[in-house]
């Protein structure tokens, strides 16, 4: 997956280091280092291949190509790409994991009321 156009996403480049709480109401692409907490609620977080996140994440969708250390709560879906290294618990409705991705933690797929679970795919 290529980095999205900066006009579509808020973009944190690979030389950027952020410590603290990140929240927003637009989609976010992180290819740098973030340590603290990330809250996007109804938007998506994409961790680029150079991204290193040490934070608990709350978002609608979370796509991980880099490294994430923390709990992820995604109201819609989580995708672990083949280069992803994730240490932490994942709570979501749908999850996709590519061959080669690394996960150390719990996966809990929550059912949305009235809908069936869309399970993991590779």
């Amino acid at each position: 997956m290529e980095a999205p156009q900066t006009g579509e996403f808020a973009h944190i480049g690979k030389s950027v280091v952020i410590k603290g709480e990140l929240s927003g109401s637009e989609d976010l692409y992180v290819d740098g280092n973030v340590e603290g907490k990330i809250e996007l609620r109804n938007h998506s977080l994409t961790v680029g291949p150079n991204g290193k996140i040490k934070a608990n994440v709350t978002a609608k969708a979370v796509v991980i190509q880099g490294t994430l250390d923390g709990a992820v709560n995604a109201s819609d879906r989580v995708e672990l790409r083949k280069s992803a290294v994730v240490t932490g618990d994942l709570t979501t409705q749908r999850i996709a994991i590519e061959e080669g991705a690394f996960l150390k933690g719990k996966v809990e797929v929550q059912k949305e009321a009235g809908k069936s679970v869309a399970p993991a795919s590779s």
């Binding site: 150390k104 933690g105 996966v107 797929v109 399970p119």
Partner: protein, 230 residues
């Protein structure tokens, strides 16, 4: 009767390799009596906690979460290769620091898991870590919980293939050859884990002596399945 032009087109279609790629190699499968017994529990209850001690497997996550269970993924074989675990004992011999290993891995509350899928970990893990790991598993499993492990029945040689198991149906496992690099090392250094030893029945019974019961299933592929109840 097909026209000449049809036959020419058939020829080009069949000889072209641009649209039809080579078929992906089919992974071998095996029936697992132990997994079949665990599946009966999985089908009868919801919200169980399952610990998968193999490499991250989308198939297993799909299988267990699809049945409404929580799955924990922790690749202990990979973790055991961490160079930071290597220390020297009082005689100067290189050993693995089992205390540090258990400080960093299998850190869960007591009586947390209903099912532990150990797979072939004890056969491939360094000797000094095996017993402490099984003892920790006893602590984190619920009384009555199931543990499934696979052991070679004869010495297949140190270069025997190490498989990672993917659950594809109630008692059917897909086998994928595993190659690992130590934590922090590049993928180019991946290699097949070496079979460390072959446990006989008595060794296995000793290994799980604190557990409530143990059941052996012998399979045709020289693998002994062991289903242990905590």
């Amino acid at each position: 009767m097909a026209s000449v032009s049809d036959n020419v087109m058939k020829f080009f279609r069949s000889s072209s390799n641009q649209t039809v790629g080579p078929a992906a190699p089919k992974k071998p499968t095996r029936r697992s009596s132990g997994m079949g017994e665990i599946s009966r529990l999985l089908n009868s209850e919801e919200g169980l906690c399952v610990l998968d001690m193999g490499a991250t497997s989308a198939s297993n996550i799909r299988f267990f979460t699809g049945k409404g269970h929580k799955i924990y993924s922790e690749d202990l074989l990979w973790s055991s290769l961490d160079p930071a675990l290597r220390i020297q004992d009082s005689a100067g011999n290189p050993v693995l620091d089992s205390k540090k290993f258990l400080d960093e891995n299998l850190v869960y509350p007591n009586a947390h898991f209903d099912v532990v899928l150990c797979w072939n970990l004890p056969d491939y893990m360094e000797e000094s870590l095996v017993k402490p790991t099984i003892d920790r598993l006893w602590s984190v499993m619920k009384p009555g919980g199931f543990l499934l492990a696979f052991f070679h029945t004869r010495d297949a040689g140190p270069d025997s293939i190490c498989y990672r198991y993917h659950v594809t149906a109630t008692d059917l496992l897909e086998m994928q050859e595993v190659k690992v690099a130590a934590p922090g090392r590049p993928a180019s250094e991946k290699k097949s884990p070496r079979l460390q030893r072959v446990f006989n029945n008595r060794h296995i019974e000793n290994l799980f002596r604190d557990f409530a019961s143990i059941k052996f299933f012998l399979a045709r592929d020289a693998i002994r399945e062991v289903l242990v109840v905590r």
